[in-house]
């Protein structure tokens, strides 16, 4: 009996250690891409290719105040959409619409961003340590990179993807990411082969997202929808608090 209790004690202690170890590993990944000590702004140039439908191009201004979980995305191009914006505070997401009347709609942060393959949650700070636990890990070669592959499971419902798989290089940068539904269906694959260092953090030079579900069969072959985006004009200059309000979106709407 004592032996069984001892075994259980070891298992529980091992589990607790694994959990805290998991959190520490994910926190290091989060730290590489979060700006908790300053504001952050960038310009995102995004293209979405839909097989048989052509290519859509957009330019978006992204303003982040990670420490308060406040985010604003404002469309800059095309001109017809200029000024349309999203405000994200914590779990709240407001979209300002002008048709048929001026009003704010609350949409899900899990939703697709502007009919692309990116999700609204792609443009907020990295929160793997708060949202996921590591359930398994392995080593894998990814092109020239020696990576640790982490299989993650969400620890609460307020995440975009129930399961995620990360390919991490020793510098704690995510080079590849696969997102899955709760049932294990692959939803999309993201690749971030190269990073740019900025004020001690690392921002992907280009993100390529291949949607596993959306696409079209052309000439007998299924072609996936693909979204690519790059981030430039990086800055950590302080931003006015007025940016992170509904009135800022209203002012810039057309």
């Amino acid at each position: 009996m004592r032996f069984m209790l001892l075994i259980c004690g070891f298992l529980l202690a091992g589990g607790a250690f694994a959990q805290s170890d998991s959190k520490a590993i994910l926190a290091k990944i989060d730290a590489q891409a979060s700006f908790l000590d300053s504001d952050f702004s960038t310009e995102i140039v995004m293209t979405t290719t839909k097989p048989g439908e052509g290519v859509t191009e957009r330019t978006i201004a992204l303003f982040r105040r990670d420490r308060e979980e406040k985010y604003v995305r404002l469309r800059l191009k095309p001109d017809s959409d200029k000024g349309k914006g999203y405000l994200n505070i914590g779990n709240n997401l407001w979209l300002y619409e002008t048709v048929p009347t001026r009003h704010f709609t609350v949409t899900s942060a899990k939703d697709r961003f502007q009919n692309s393959n990116a999700r609204n949650s792609d443009f907020t700070r990295s929160t793997f340590a708060e949202d996921y636990k590591i359930v398994s890990q392995s080593k894998e070669k990814l092109g020239p990179f020696d990576t640790t592959v982490l299989n993650l499971e969400a620890i609460h419902d307020d995440v975009t993807f129930a399961r995620t798989k990360l390919w991490i290089t020793p510098d704690n940068l995510v080079r590849k990411k696969e997102d899955y539904s709760l049932s294990g269906q692959l939803l999309r694959t993201s690749a971030m082969p190269s990073y740019q260092e900025f004020k001690g953090r690392f921002i992907p030079k280009k993100v390529t997202i291949i949607d596993a579900l959306m696409g079209k069969t052309l000439n007998g072959v299924f072609r996936n929808e693909v979204t690519e985006y790059s981030m430039g004009k990086l800055s950590t200059d302080p931003l006015p608090s007025l940016i992170f309000t509904q009135s800022y979106l209203e002012k810039n709407s057309q």
Binding site: L62, N92, L142, A162, S235, D237
Partner: protein, 414 residues
């Protein structure tokens, strides 16, 4: 045999994975990591130069409504409507903007607002049978001014809506602003957002001598949002009708957006009432939302006649309770078809309405829709008395086709 089956299964699984994932080529010779270019930064003012935009829209609608009144009379109504909107959006620099949105409609209509759960809105004017267009009407006409990064002002005719309810919205303390003129200021006080509005709308506030400053309806809203919660408090006062105080909490529970809102009202004769509304919104489905569900519960002390008045004039002690449920699905998006259902029920008198709707957007610029509506209850009950159908049908089928387009042009280029 078992081995062959397993091999076949592996081949299928592996094959599908390879077919879906083609990011590997991006890692064959990746660009090395490097320092970021820090010579440029994105402007917080997307409109920082002089610009002028023109816009036009045309909305042509044809309805056919067929249904029965409570006494069994069959009423069929063909209706056509046309709305032509036009306007300009001028920006002088990043601080100043002038905006005008005007429209002409046929037949003459009192409102251009649309209501989510009511296929009869905007209200159809059946009395005007001759070919008669409205005068040029003002939808919006305002001036914006930004005082540096401190505050944003808007002056003129404008639209604005407060309150958390989508089905019942007693917390909209600025109701009627779209039919008057108003001055609004928005500012950020640390983490709190402040909005102050002064509304001039004499008919809304039953004012006959409208020159005095106290004819204005004054409203203030404070909002604070953090990770899990969004909190708000607002107030309204007009010397002729009385005052209101409103507070709400919004959060997320098990993937659903949940809110609770309470409203206290005090009329000029001292009558008081309290109204509460609670609601939840939940989407089901990972990628395609197979169900979007909205539910709201209204507990009102205002009575059936006061709930939508500027300030209530009676207190029925919370006897007036109503339930609203609305649901829609994206499961048929691949066919460009969107079905929805809405049910409103008043428990005070047992009346209610149910609307099944389906909209097809398969054709460019053209929406085809069908709505099946049932309004039920005793004579004089809330939904019978306030039947959204001006012909008082209690069972009806609406078929509607609408053609619409919008055009914008910037500095003369479309």
């Amino acid at each position: 045999m078992r081995l062959f089956g397993a091999a076949l299964l592996w081949a299928v699984i592996a094959g599908s994975t390879w077919a879906q994932d083609s990011t590997d080529s991006l890692f064959t010779n990746p660009e090395p990591d490097s320092k970021a270019d820090t010579t440029q930064k994105v402007s917080i003012d997307p409109f920082n130069g002089r610009s002028i935009n023109f816009f036009e829209s045309l909305d042509v609608q044809g309805y056919y409504i067929s249904g029965y009144r409570q006494d069994g009379t069959l009423v069929n109504t063909p209706v056509d409507a046309l709305n032509f909107g036009f306007g300009t959006d001028m920006r002088l620099d990043k601080t100043a903007r002038a905006y005008a949105s005007l429209y002409i409609s046929y037949p003459t209509q009192n409102t251009t607002n649309t209501y989510l759960y009511n296929p009869y809105q905007p209200e159809i004017n059946l009395t005007n049978s001759t070919l008669s267009f409205s005068e040029i009407l003002v939808k919006e006409l305002f001036l914006d001014y930004s005082l540096g990064d401190a505050a944003i002002f808007r002056l003129g005719r404008q639209t604005l809506s407060w309150g958390q309810g989508k089905i019942f919205n007693p917390g909209n303390l600025v109701q009627g602003i779209e039919n008057g003129i108003a001055a609004k200021m928005a500012a950020a006080l640390g983490p709190v957002n402040l909005t102050v509005v002064a509304i001039k709308n004499d008919s809304q506030y039953n004012i006959t001598n409208g020159l005095a400053l106290d004819s204005l309806g004054d409203a203030l809203l404070l909002e604070y949002s953090a990770k899990m919660f969004s909190l708000g408090a607002s107030g309204f006062y007009n010397s002729n009708v009385g005052g209101k105080l409103d507070g709400y909490v919004k959060t997320s529970v098990l993937g659903a957006d949940v809110f609770v809102e309470t409203l206290w009202e005090r009329g000029t004769a001292g009558q008081m009432s309290t109204t509460g509304v609670a609601g939840l919104y939940r989407e089901f489905g990972d990628d395609t939302k197979w169900l979007k569900l909205q539910t709201e519960w209204l507990v009102s002390g205002e009575g059936s006649t006061g709930s939508f008045a500027v300030v209530s004039n009676e207190n029925l002690g919370f006897s007036d309770q109503s339930l609203g449920v609305a649901a829609s699905t994206e499961a048929l998006n691949f066919m460009s078809v969107k079905p929805s259902v809405a049910w409103l029920q008043s428990f005070a008198d047992g009346s209610g309405q149910v609307i099944f709707g389906i909209v097809s957007t398969a054709l460019p610029h053209i929406d085809l829709s069908m709505a099946l509506t049932s309004v039920y209850g005793a004579t004089g009950s809330r939904y019978i008395a306030n039947n959204p159908d001006s012909e008082d049908r209690v069972w009806s089928l609406t078929l509607k086709a609408s053609f619409n387009f919008d055009i914008k042009s910037s500095d003369g280029k479309s």
